[in-house]
């Protein structure tokens, strides 16, 4: 058995607090994966990519782990098998087959011009995965002789991993004297039209970053606030058609992951995200886009209050530390997690929108980079998910959906943007069917 870090116990690494829910709830329509990818102008050489991955894992040895089922909890354990790279498939964020992947919780894929990193959520969150991807791309470009540069935000290859990189900040921030934050009720879920299956259908909307920033700024909002408000407005339009009686309309709430690294100044490479839940109450009346934006702005600001975040952490970690949870065996906890995760998780919001933010490009990569993407996996209750990432002068909004033919949400969303003066360019894998 190899040792991950000097401070890590051999053969047994506990999952971080927010990673606990992902292994037991992994199922069809619930892959719990996400993907970040970079498209380069140059052709990708798989052998070089393999070397770049090995170098990255040498630096971030805490990612060389595999998932195991213990008697009480799932746990990570060091994995000394060689990492595997895979050719690109037909859709992103599919379910993980750990065996095909030598047990690793991430999967590196390549196509002619693309390097993609798909992660199972128990390893890290979107920001963590972006750091891994930056390191792989940086090392790949170095080894392939494309350019020598260092990404801002990536870890230094020459330094040793710090203890904080694989720490679980949730446990540090847990304060048992705080009250746990209250939970919210169930929300509206769009039924959609037609059939669906677990193939992830993508509609990728590439927006003009300048125009989007300008339109958001005119309304006094950030890009996340603008796009979140637009998604709420879109869902409101659907609910108006589906539920004609106003007072019967359910709340529409979005789950927006917040990167806590910026709030609590931790440099962890594990999950360190909480979800801001923002939304409207359509039973009270119809909201205009600007009214929604105002509400979202206020609620997002409130959600980023560190005191409120610590109260949320208290609730989450408190649950993990509850005596019944600690001593109940996995064979009982697993099915209960699966059965309760809808009512305690997915049912509390109508959609997910995750914005990884703007990725600063080093000068040397400006000409080589042709595209960046971020994809989430949708769920069975909320069958469409939105992932946003910005690079150069572009913002890419990727809609991932389980619906086979229903693209109404995407259409309404993009049409609003076009009407608001933001150019939108669409690409998809829907037309690429056998």
């Amino acid at each position: 058995m190899i040792k991950v870090q000097s401070y890590a116990p051999e053969g047994f690494i506990a999952l971080d607090n927010s990673a606990l829910i992902y292994p037991p709830t992994e199922a069809k329509f619930n892959a719990n994966t996400f993907r970040v990818s970079v498209d380069l102008e140059q052709e990708i050489v798989p052998q070089v990519l393999e070397l770049a991955l090995q170098d990255t894992l040498q630096r971030c040895s805490y990612a060389k782990v595999s998932l195991h089922k213990g008697f009480f909890w799932y746990y990570l354990s060091p994995n000394d098998k060689p990492p595997v790279i895979h050719p690109e498939g037909s859709y992103p964020s599919a379910r993980f087959n750990f065996k095909d992947n030598n047990g690793y919780l991430f999967r590196v894929l390549y196509s002619n011009h693309r390097i993609a990193l798909e992660c199972f959520h128990s390893l890290t969150d979107g920001s963590g995965a972006l750091v891994y991807l930056k390191m792989i791309v940086q090392q790949y470009c170095h080894l392939a002789g494309i350019a020598d540069f260092s990404f801002s935000g990536a870890l230094d290859f020459s330094s040793k991993p710090s203890k904080q990189e694989f720490s679980d900040p949730f446990q540090h921030l847990y304060d048992k004297n705080l009250p746990g934050s209250p939970s919210t009720g169930s929300t509206y879920h769009r039924v959609g039209k037609g059939s669906y299956d677990d193939r992830v259908k993508v509609i990728s909307a590439m927006l003009d970053g300048q125009a989007l920033r300008k339109r958001a700024k005119e309304r006094g909002a950030t890009i996340t606030e603008y796009l979140s408000s637009l998604l709420i407005w879109t869902l409101q339009e659907f609910q108006k058609q589906e539920v004609p009686v106003q007072k019967k309309r359910k709340p529409i709430r979005l789950s927006i992951p917040m990167n806590l690294r910026k709030i609590f100044h931790y440099d962890t490479m594990r999950n360190f995200t909480l979800f801001a839940v923002v939304g409207i109450e359509p039973a009270l009346g119809e909201y205009t886009f600007d009214e929604i934006l105002k509400k979202v702005r206020l609620e997002l600001a409130l959600s980023q209050d560190p005191k409120r975040n610590r109260s949320q952490i208290k609730r989450n970690v408190g649950g993990e530390r509850h005596i019944l949870m600690r001593f109940a065996p996995n064979i009982i906890k697993n099915p209960l997690f699966k059965l309760l995760s809808n009512s305690l998780g997915d049912d509390l919001y109508s959609a997910v929108i995750s914005n990884l933010g703007y990725v600063q490009m080093p000068e040397e990569l400006q000409d080589s980079l042709s595209r960046m993407d971020f994809y989430l996996c949708p769920g069975q209750l909320n069958k469409v998910a939105l992932a946003v990432i910005g690079w150069k002068d572009k913002v890419v909004v990727n809609f991932t959906s389980f619906f086979n033919a229903d693209t109404e949400l995407e259409r309404l969303f993009c049409t609003f943007l076009v009407e608001d003066g933001i150019p939108v360019e669409i690409s998809t894998n829907r037309s690429n069917e056998v």
């Binding site: 379910r95 677990d198 993009c414 076009v418 690409s427």
Partner: protein, 295 residues
């Protein structure tokens, strides 16, 4: 590069339709766009992957967990109370109950699949309990009954049965006869009453049913009046009981006579005359049906 005339979005080079609203792209005749490299290089498979969703998986896992816990609890209880040698029946019953519950969620939710699976599991359960003392007695009759029920009530809804109706009818009759043979063998250990009583009685029943099909399904009007159907069923049943009485009396007492079925036989004769009359004479039929009021 084209724009969708409905949504206003810019489309990929070479796109044939807008992926958002499915509006066809109509480029001027002299413009031919090179198709852009697709977003993902591999075409989308035709079907999704298999497997269970979160809720189904959760329910199955919960049943399995409870099965393991209850099996251990029962086994330990019986061990400590010194009755472990009799533990097979409760342990086997719990396992079968769990399996039946799991299959209710896992198997395809159609009448044919669910009924087949549950009848099969019930048969295994009954055989298992009976075979515990290494002798199969009553379970053979119960299992045979389940097989007969499957052939009579489940198999006819299958596609195979719809495709071959005559073969299906023959199969149903054969399984029915085999079941009677089985009962005779299990109860008496020999074919005692099967050949002199059950076989000829069944022959009468089969002949009646066959006559019904010949008379009604081969005629021009395919719609069978409800009254005819009821009358014919009664006639076939009454004649079958009459035959049973006749063959049973001969088997038991050695002479040919009707003991308790004379009234049934008379009723069958009267109904047969009536049914033949209304079938042959349109006037008589109109007298008994509502058609005379609409004439």
């Amino acid at each position: 590069m084209a724009y969708c005339i409905k949504c206003g979005v810019k489309l990929e080079n070479g796109a044939e339709e807008c992926p958002l609203c499915h509006t066809k792209v109509n480029l001027p005749c002299d413009i031919h766009e090179q198709k852009e490299e697709p977003l993902f290089p591999v075409p989308m498979p035709q079907k999704g992957t298999g497997g269970f969703n979160k809720t189904s998986k959760g329910i199955v896992e919960l049943i399995l967990s409870l099965l393991i816990i209850s099996e251990i609890t029962v086994a330990l209880t019986m061990w400590f109370s010194g009755n472990f040698s009799h533990g097979f029946i409760p342990l086997f019953s719990i396992m079968m109950a769990a399996l039946i519950l799991i299959m209710a969620f896992v198997a395809k939710h159609t009448y044919f699949v669910q009924a087949s699976v549950h009848m099969g599991l019930a048969a295994v359960f009954l055989l298992g309990i009976d075979l515990y003392d290494r002798s199969a007695t009553w379970s053979l009759i119960a299992t045979g009954g389940l097989c007969l029920l499957w052939v009579l009530a489940v198999f006819p809804v299958s596609k195979t049965a719809h495709a071959h109706p005559i073969a299906t009818a023959v199969k149903m009759g054969t399984v029915y006869l085999l079941y009677i043979v089985l009962i005779n063998l299990v109860v008496k250990g020999n074919l005692t009453w099967f050949l002199p009583v059950a076989l000829p009685t069944s022959a009468v029943l089969f002949c009646g049913v066959a006559l019904f099909f010949v008379l009604y399904l081969t005629r021009k009007r395919t719609r069978i009046p409800l009254a005819d159907l009821v009358f014919f069923c009664l006639i076939v049943l009454f004649f079958t009981f009459t035959a049973l009485d006749l063959f049973l009396t001969h088997y038991w007492y050695g002479y040919w006579a009707l003991r308790w079925s004379i009234s049934l036989f008379s009723a069958a004769i009267i109904l047969s005359i009536l049914l033949s009359g209304v079938t042959v004479s349109r006037r008589l039929r109109r007298f008994f049906t509502s058609q005379n009021r609409h004439a």
